[in-house]
């Protein structure tokens, strides 16, 4: 019975092909360092899910941002867990993505034909850091406020267009409700959209080229 249902679906959706190509593809002999990309992907999904859950209670307004997080941490059932995972997962994700990049560099896996995978990976590292930067402001406590003040000031030191960048980031000359709102928007919509698209291409390329193997002595 279930086999019939599965076969019917498989014929139309190509589930077995999908499984073979995604999860059952041949891998070169590797080690635990080769799992960091998957670890990054797992963390991305985890951050996405916990982030979606956080928006149920979080309010991106200077009046309520801090209070709503206090509420999540102290009053909502398991709010501390959801936010805790999101908080620590964020740091871990930056770390894992960076070590992943380091591994690819050290094993020279970025070479032909995987140059584009590497370039997109750079984009992934930058967007991940962008997620960290925008997310850091959202608790709207002293540390968040001043970290963003300094961070946007650094962006403002760019020659000629620095002031424009600073104003564009802050939504005006000062850190304000507009800053919080646009950081929130960037954090939950814009950067995740870019990140998702880049991950899609990154994964496509990995499946297309397969994972790189360590060169043998005669190669």
């Amino acid at each position: 019975m279930w086999k019939n249902v599965f076969d019917w679906l498989d014929e139309r959706l190509g589930l077995n092909d999908l499984y073979t190509n995604l999860l059952d593809r041949p891998e070169p002999k590797g080690n635990w360092w080769n799992t960091l990309g998957s670890a990054s992907l797992f963390l991305f999904v985890l951050q996405g899910l916990t982030g979606i859950f956080l928006t149920v209670y979080y309010t991106p307004s200077p009046d309520h941002a801090y209070d709503s997080i206090q509420y999540i941490m102290n009053d909502v059932a398991f709010g501390w867990l959801i936010r805790g995972i999101h908080h620590w997962g964020a740091s871990l994700m930056v770390l894992i993505v960076f070590i992943h990049m380091l591994r690819v560099f050290v094993t020279a896996s970025y070479k032909y034909p995987r140059e584009m995978t590497w370039f997109i990976g750079i984009g992934l590292l930058l967007t991940t850091i962008g997620m960290g930067f925008t997310g850091y402001l959202l608790p709207w406590n002293q540390r968040a406020y001043w970290a963003t003040t300094v961070g946007t000031q650094i962006a403002g030191t760019v020659p000629f267009i620095g002031e424009f960048i600073l104003k564009a980031l802050r939504g005006g000359p000062d850190l304000s409700a507009l800053t919080l709102q646009r950081f929130f928007s960037a954090h939950i919509w814009m950067i995740p959209a870019i990140l998702t698209a880049l991950i899609g291409v990154h994964l496509y390329l990995i499946i297309k080229h397969g994972e790189s193997h360590f060169p043998k002595k005669d190669e």
Binding site: F53, V56, T59, Y71, V76
Partner: protein
Amino acid sequence: MSETISRRDFIKVTTSIVGGFIGVAIGVPAVYYLIDPALREGAKEAWIPIGKLENMEIGKPYAFSFTRVQVNGWERTSTSHGGFVIRNSDDPNDLFILNSRCTHLSCTVNWSENDQVYLCPCHDAKFGQQGEVLDGPPPRPLDRYNQFRITEDGTLEIFYQEG
């Protein structure tokens, strides 16, 4: 059960078990997190002390007021309530309590000592001593707090219910 398990199947099984464990460990709290507000009981009713019985003159409306604070998440809203206690006789239980909210558009009525009526400042409605409508637009007499009790130290408490 001396079958050997292939490396591949071992990985599949352990991945499923660990994955399932992580899924449950996060999924179940996540559901509670979502439905948490639905599991709370709001303080929709309470006994509210409004004054010592000995301070309330017989036959003269005794004005009182109190504030209720409603906490919804990180938002607090406070609403003011008030009314009048009218004692008919020496008997502690021989009294009635009017709600000072006008039945027309919810303005607060005041007791006028000169005219011996409750006056609503909004549309000049008049209510008699018992709360009955004497003049103006109100559709019904003033509401009453029907449940009250007197504590051992002589404090009058009313039972407040929201809505």
